[in-house]
Amino acid sequence: MADATDLERLPIGSIGHRASGWWGMLAVIMTEGALFSYLLFSYYYFAVQYGRAFLPPDLPKLHLSVPNTALLLLSSVAVWWAEQGAKLGDRRRLALGLAAALIMGVGFVAVQALEWSEQSFTIASSSYGSLFFTITGFHMAHVIAGDIVLAVLLLWTLLGYFDARRNAAVSIGAIYWHFVDAVWLTLFFTFYVTPRLS
């Protein structure tokens, strides 16, 4: 029944950026990006209404947040390194990279929890406190989700689900992780840098 074809060979199933999941993740990132924009809008809305009076007497400190930021950025590098490994079919490198990123991601959450416990304000004590904890909390939830993604990817790697061509899930997880990191930079800038600029 099937006759000669003049079509080229086409990849089948989930392959790299041709996987529907990849496109789906881009759409998710778009909507998540919007979510964080609205969160930051809320923060700046208050900041514009009240000016300095809105900030707490002692601002969130830098001694933990700066290293933590570095840690998160480094984890992105690890994920990138792992993803390149996946494309080369290097499962060991993939597993190592994911594991390293996962450890750093969990570390970020732990430091962030420490950072939270240091604050002089609470979520219910002032509008600033509500915003600080809600916005960093949203981000934290995303990091935790990212950690779970990394852990599951690591598991799948160890189960041998990925090779040089079948690794779309890794790319999808990686782009999500990079996004979460990029969001952190905007939050860091908002909570730790801008108040010190004025």
């Binding site: 909507t31 998540e32 509008s127 090779d163």
Partner: protein
């Protein structure tokens, strides 16, 4: 287990709906009979119809609420409802209509039609599609559950703080609304992702971006709108819930809270939303009106551009709902100007439709009547919007029945009319039987007269100063007669809806058999049998123009579309991915089987929300963990979906 190849050259074949390939495909794509089959199906046609039926049921509920309100308002000083009952009913009326009817009904059309008009076999994410439906149903039931304990939302659909906060609203009314909206947001977002990816990736080969039906453009544009706007409302409601439950200070004026932040977040969402609930409906008209005018739409390209422009500008006008909040005139004038300018793309569409009527030879089917009626109703609703766009005028008009008249002209005119017309057009496709034209004309005229009788005089009610959201009014304000007329009109309109329902009920069994293309339509869905088989197309059609079924007669384009000859894709459930702009074949996608995961995920997710509502924190936590587990299982790489490495290729 069979090894899944990493690539292959797809087989070309000529195959009709009675070919052996077709029966193989049928076996592959069919949903199993029985309850489990019903609960686990991922067939977009089944889900689309479910969306339509559910949304229509919500229309009836919202309509019933409206009729009760109209009884209360028929005369001055009525005592049918207590103030609190009235407040809950008008709030749920707005919520139901805007969130549970107007957008989901359009999703229903698009879910049903997307794969058919784009020439593919299902949506990009069939299980996610089922999940959107279940989550939508769950969110609707969640919000309606509030009536059971007499605590339905009572602060209107836009729910301003601080009235929505605990100190003024101690009962769980607002918690139902807040959590229900977040739940609904999940469903809407999932749907939008699905439409967007389907549009970008699953169009038939050859269907380049300038050959896509306008409905698909409308739905895709609004999907992007949804992805960018829904987070605002989910966030707004989440912060509201935090304020209510955990004493935060986002909106709470005790402390530094800013009640206006609610208004900004809400309208940054809600203005785009009002276009989200009409652009696909306009798409229905842009695609279907030409069928009955017997010619292609005039100005396809500008209409597509107008659709996109409207959505983009729609993000820049939200302040026109806040003209009386005391913001500086400079800001107001900017948003006022933007609101005037947003009229231009609407004008483009209106004149494109009018031109299509004039340049065509309209056949007066019921659907045509609805679409033609829609054009005038749209203009009436549009110009009243333009009046409120003028800041000084709005400071008189706002919060009067003039605005209520505006929203009903736009919502009923641009949403309900195309929906009813669209149902007349595609009912034969969905069921295989035609709706009765005679009953159809009766229903159209009853709906048309009732609607205008109810809402045209309402402009006057507003100009005579009647405020919105009042449960009763005194005599002697000049509102008595108009209100009575409106009430009568509302009942006439309801009668028209009943005739429509009767038509559906009768024609489903006894209607004339439709055949594949009863209206002689131009697009791909009309090349399939009515109703279409589970796999839609025996071969993936190749498209060479905007009107594959008309191209012989219109003689447009160079080549000819090929509908019965194309790639077969029958190594399991498969679909063709194509490139975004040109529609060149790009990959063979493996489509998932029916699955219970979407339903299970919805159930645990809804249970988690119920836990939050009831403050059963542990229970909510357990459900959230189950949801996580369900999600991981759902996404677990499957060999049949081409997601796992094959040892043989290693």
């Amino acid at each position: 287990m069979a090894v899944i190849d990493y690539d292959r050259a797809p087989e070309f074949a000529t195959a009709g709906y009675d070919s052996p390939a077709a029966s193989r495909l049928h076996a592959l794509w069919e949903t199993k009979p029985g309850l489990i089959g019903w609960l686990s199906t991922v067939d977009h046609k089944e889900l689309g119809v479910r969306y339509l039926v559910t949304a229509f049921a919500f229309l009836l509920l919202g309509g019933l609420e409206a009729l009760i309100m109209r009884l209360q308002l028929a005369q001055p000083n009525e005592h049918l409802l207590s103030p609190e009952q009235y407040n809950q009913i008008f709030s749920m009326h707005g919520i139901t209509m805007i969130f549970l009817y107007a957008q989901p009904i359009l999703s229903g059309f698009s879910i049903y039609l997307f794969p058919l008009i784009l020439g593919t076999r299902d949506m990009a994410f069939p299980r996610l599609n089922a999940f959107s439906y279940w989550a939508y149903l769950a969110a609707g039931l969640f919000m309606y559950a509030s009536f059971l304990i007499g605590a339905a939302p009572n602060d209107g659909w836009f729910n301003y703080a601080p009235y929505a906060l605990k100190q003024f609203n101690p009962n769980p009314n607002m918690d139902f609304y807040a959590l229900g909206m977040i739940l609904l947001g999940v469903s809407t977002t999932a749907g939008a992702v699905n439409f967007l990816v389907t549009f970008l990736r699953l169009r038939a080969p050859g269907m380049s971006i300038n050959r896509v039906p306008i409905l698909a453009w409308g739905t895709t544009t609004t999907s992007v709108g949804i992805l960018l706007s829904v987070p605002a409302v989910s966030l707004a409601f989440f912060l509201l819930w935090l304020d209510r439950q955990f004493g935060t200070h986002f909106y709470n004026p005790d402390g530094q809270g800013q009640p206006l932040l609610w208004q900004h977040l809400f309208w940054m969402f809600a203005h785009p939303w009002v276009y989200i609930i009409v652009l696909p409906a306009m798409g229905i008209v842009s695609d279907a009106l030409p069928i009955f005018c017997r010619r292609p739409l005039v100005g396809y390209t500008v209409v597509v551009l107008a659709t996109i422009t409207t959505m983009v500008l729609g993000f820049g006008v939200w302040l026109h709902h806040m003209f009386a909040t005391g913001l500086p005139f400079l800001a107001l004038s900017f948003f006022s100007g933007a609101s005037f300018i947003i009229t231009v793309p609407s004008a483009v569409a209106v004149f494109a439709w009018i031109a299509t009527i004039w340049a065509g030879r309209p056949v007066f089917t019921t659907a045509f009547l609805y679409f033609a009626g829609f054009v005038s109703m749209f203009v009436i609703g549009g110009v009243s919007g333009v009046m409120t766009a003028a800041v000084p005028a709005d400071r008189q008009l706002t919060d009067t029945y003039f605005v209520v008249a505006h929203i009903h002209y736009v919502l009923i005119g641009i949403n309900l009319f195309p929906v009813l017309g669209g149902l007349h057009v595609w009912f034969p496709k969905m069921t295989g039987r035609m709706l009765s034209e005679r009953l159809g004309r009766w229903s159209f005229w009853t709906v048309f007269i009732g609607f205008n009788m109810a809402f045209l005089p309402m402009h006057w009610t507003g100009l005579a100063g009647m405020p919105r959201r009042i449960y009763t009014y005194p005599e002697g304000m000049g509102w008595d007669t108009v209100n009575l007329i409106t009430t009568i009109g509302a009942f006439v309109l309801a009668a028209g809806i009943l005739i429509f329902l009767a038509n559906i009920a009768l024609s489903r069994r006894n209607g004339r058999v439709a055949g594949p293309n009863p209206w002689d339509g131009p697009t791909l869905e009309w090349s399939t049998p009515s109703p279409p088989p589970p796999y839609n197309f025996p071969v993936i059609p190749a498209v060479a123009s905007r009107h594959p079924l008309w191209e012989d007669r219109l003689d447009e384009g160079l080549g000819r579309s090929s509908i019965r000859r194309g790639v077969v894709l029958d190594h399991g459930k498969e679909a063709l991915a194509t490139s975004t702009l040109d529609g060149e074949p790009d990959a063979i996608l493996k489509m998932p089987e029916d699955s219970l995961s979407p339903l299970v995920a919805t159930i645990v997710m809804t249970a988690a929300f119920a836990g939050l509502l009831l403050h059963w924190w542990m229970f909510a936590g357990v459900c959230a963990a189950l949801l996580l587990a369900a999600t991981i299982i759902w996404l677990w790489p499957e060999r049949e979906l081409g997601q796992r490495a094959e040892a043989s290729h290693g």
